[in-house]
């Protein structure tokens, strides 16, 4: 009887065939105000016909394929992507992903030495800006999924190409120059995965090549950012070229293992070794009035040729145990260790006014070892209440180039020693309410930098409550406070409310966050201590309301609102309204309005506002 029923259901199975949906539309921009460069740097959605999103799936018992999925978004926009998943469930599983991102970033507040001079042309130039395309693709193929032995292969590439502006620094002046960005990284990898009931082992070997052919050029008379004469003369640049030719390769091997020899013990181990190497050739030529600071003389032409390399062998490993000696107790012990050694050398020949200076040979090295040991014990006080506590010890040492004005040899050594107490709980008084929290209190003897966490506390509290089938409430609070060596605090409080009614559903979220850092610095010119106080107090609200209208039409109203005060006050609003009306059995009409509006009181020239209107059709 049951078998008969099963066969009947299987025969009715409608999973085979083609299904899919796509959304096409036309976007128009209107009501532009303020800086279009900022709009491109922040939102960067243009106007014209768009394939807004598409999703299709083909399921058929073909010999080499039984499931094919293609999804994509934003084709026609500067940010677009596509994913293809194809598999034959007993033979292979493959995944291809492609992303194409236009990276435009030209905000003068980031890097403009002329920022204080409002009204000048220089104010509107970010001297470290980009207008590039970043393309990424990766392909992964797993053979024999679900079998004991699973070979796998993969390849990935990312490239960045385009134009920009970069500073060309020549001794005592810097000149904004046009730059051409051209870098790429390609990796191939393959390996074998061995999966048993009690053990899993993955062996992977990969290799990569990378290149960076970024160049800078200046063909016009350029006075640079220094306006005051130096030693009685004004510095300027008539022409300049700077060419990098960086190539490299990178071989790596990794081993991952999980092992459960008995029911009360889980182990995992990982090891990773890589040995990347870069080779660089550098050519820079400049003509103008250039001060050669070492000999305090002015020259009209300078050329620098350099060749160099860098090696960075690196090994990292880890071992983790989870032991469950009793049904209520779980102990996790983890070790991590990493060793890296970076060494580089450079040979630089400089020619001043056709006279070559003695070659300059530079070497640099950086070595660091870092280890972490962590033990945590989890105890189920009841079925609904779990407490845990533990200890983390982080230690290591690093050898880096000594600060230039510090006395001593070429390198200096720093150490890291920090102990932390860990604790937390998970409490589920009812199936509808979950509370959990965790905290870490760290005290260190030594750290590397002023901003490192040495004496700190961090804690997180979360609550999830399902008031009814329709109402859900989430709340979260997180705080990180570092006392020493550097006083800073980072805090977020968040509450989310979801309500699902018959005609309306609402998701409302509010987040209050604050960042504060307070430190003393020594003014290098006036030689006096002054205080630097940085504050960012932000309110973020997001709202999404879905209204189910007659004739299966839906209206979505909402958007996000961000407002901050403090060192750099800003507001960023993105309201949204979207209407979908079915016009046929397999088609619906789409109308959408969005607005993006950024305001910054300290940098009003970087504010903008823009309305986006989209009309489209969804076919499914």
């Amino acid at each position: 009887m049951n078998a008969l029923l099963w066969l009947t259901l299987w025969a009715q199975e409608p999973a085979k065939g083609f299904t899919g949906s796509s959304e096409i539309g036309y976007r128009a921009l209107a009501g532009q105000r303020g800086s279009f460069n900022t709009y491109r740097s922040v939102v960067n959605l243009g106007e014209g016909p768009r394939l807004l999103q598409f999703e299709s799936r083909y399921r058929a018992p073909l010999r080499w394929l039984d499931d094919l999925r293609i999804t994509g978004a934003n084709w026609g926009d500067p940010l677009n992507s596509v994913q293809v998943r194809a598999e034959r469930s007993t033979a292979y599983r493959s995944h291809f992903q492609y992303r194409n991102l236009a990276y435009f970033n030209a905000l003068p507040s980031f890097a403009s030495p002329q920022l204080g001079k409002l009204g000048t042309e220089a104010y509107t130039t970010n001297q470290n800006s980009y207008d590039t395309r970043q393309r990424f693709w990766n392909f992964d193929l797993e053979l024999l999924p679900g079998h004991r032995l699973q070979p796998f292969f993969g390849a990935a590439q990312n490239t960045s190409r385009g134009l920009g502006v970069s500073p060309l620094v020549l001794d005592e002046n810097s000149y904004p120059a046009a730059s051409r960005v051209d870098s790429g990284y390609t990796v191939f990898r393959g390996g074998l995965r061995y999966e048993l009931d009690k053990l899993h082992l993955t062996l992977e070997q990969g290799g990569a090549t990378f290149s960076d052919g970024t160049s800078l050029f200046n063909t016009v008379s350029n006075t640079g950012n220094r306006e005051a004469p130096l030693l009685g003369r004004s510095l300027s640049l008539q022409s300049a070229n700077r060419l990098y030719d960086v190539t490299g390769d990178h071989l790596y091997s990794s081993v991952d293992l999980t092992y459960s020899p008995v029911s009360w013990l889980d182990m995992s181990a990982e090891y990773y070794y890589s040995r990347p190497r870069s080779d660089v050739r550098f050519n820079e030529s400049a003509r103008g009035t250039i001060l050669w600071l070492d000999s305090l003389r002015f020259v009209n032409g300078q050329q620098a040729l350099a060749t160099g390399y860098a090696n960075q062998p690196r090994s990292a490993g880890g071992l983790t145990f989870e032991v469950r000696p009793f049904s209520r107790l779980r102990i996790v012990e983890a070790w991590q260790s990493e060793r890296t050694h970076n060494s580089g050398a450079l040979s630089l020949v400089t020619t001043l006014d056709a006279r070559a200076l003695p070659p300059l040979n530079l070497e640099d090295r950086m070595v660091w070892r870092q280890n972490e040991q962590r033990v945590q014990a989890f105890y189920d006080v009841t079925n609904r209440f779990t407490l845990y506590g533990g200890h983390r010890y982080l230690w290591g040492e690093a050898e880096v180039r000594r600060a230039t004005i510090a006395p001593g040899g070429p390198t200096e050594t720093g150490a890291l020693h920090r102990h932390s107490a860990l604790g937390g709980f998970v409490f589920r008084p009812t199936a509808k309410l979950t509370l959990n929290g965790d905290a870490e209190v760290g005290r260190g003897r030594q750290v590397y930098f002023r901003t490192s966490l040495q004496d700190f506390e961090q804690m997180r509290l979360r609550a999830r409550y399902q008031l009814s089938q329709a109402w859900h409430l989430n709340a979260r609070f997180a705080r990180l406070k570092n006392h020493f060596p550097f006083a800073s605090q980072n805090q977020q409080a968040n509450v989310t409310l979801q309500w699902t009614g018959k005609a309306v559903s609402v998701m409302a979220d509010y987040t209050r966050s604050s960042i504060r850092s307070d430190f003393t610095l020594l003014d290098p010119v006036l030689y006096r201590f002054s205080r630097s106080l940085y504050q960012d107090n932000a309110h973020t609200g997001t709202l999404a309301t879905d209204w189910r209208l007659p004739r299966k039409a839906t209206l979505t109203l909402g958007g996000s609102l961000f407002r901050s005060s403090g060192t750099r006050p800003s507001r960023f609003y993105q309201p949204l309204a979207r209407l979908r009306i079915p016009v046929a059995t397999h088609a619906s009409f789409l109308a959408e309005w969005r607005q993006a509006s950024l305001g910054q009181s300290l940098y009003p020239a970087e504010s903008f506002g823009m309305h986006q209107f989209t009309l489209g059709l969804r076919i499914f």
Partner: protein
Amino acid sequence: MRVSLAIIACWLGLVFGAQPPHTDKQGYANTGACLVCHEEMGKAFLKTRHGSLENNVSRGWKGQSCESCHGPGAKHGEAAEAKFILNHAKATPRVADSSCLSCHRNQATHVGRVSGSHARMQVACVSCHSVHHEGPGKSAAVINALCSNCHASAWAAFQRSHAHALPQGVMSCVDCHNPHGTSRSSALRSTARTTNAEPGCFNCHADKRGPFAFEHAPVRLEGCAACHEPHGSANPRMLNRAEVLNLCLECHANAPGGRAATLGTVATGFHDLRLPAYRNCTSCHAKIHGSHINRDFLR
């Protein structure tokens, strides 16, 4: 060579994989019995990857795919009472997960599971994974919506003016995070690996990968998050501070060290910090992630 490999594989199989197939079938019904009451759910389930267990002999659940997760169902079927069957949505996460992990414990994605915060906070597998239904696809927008259900404050950070392209649906949370957990500290995670199982920032920002002849030590010792807030920032380059100067001076403060650590930290020299030219450090120190040519990251 191949014979040796085969012998090693067999030995490993005998020693480590010697768990018998699920032969103890006392108390089990079969999928047909389940579908008498749970027809709609069963039909949806059979379209999923787990549904293939129904016809898979080697995994030992042929004809009993429902019970491979829910446990023996004969008593539940006879009594028609919920208490006789494992319901993952109502069970404690530990019990629910032990059912999933009975098959998925030893897999590549679980290398860092026991150290991960999801395991620590008892976030059950079924909190994210839908087992009975084929999900709406792993598109970036779907993944982001799922993660932001719990990580709402992280999602709020993406509403700032400068953030990665998650709200646009081009990137997803799992492009950077491994939700199954990782055993690496954040510094190692951001810079370490190249594989998809453990993505790092350099997967996409390959031009910052190096190695450089002259490294900026915090990039390697503290990771990208020492300076960047990847979820969203007021700074155009997603720095932790809105202004470049604020960030750089936190280390390069010229202040006497004392107990404070200043490993390799170069003082700001005689830059007059009141002048705009010196308030944007990266105007000149453009190669701040590391330089092949210049120790001061000027070119």
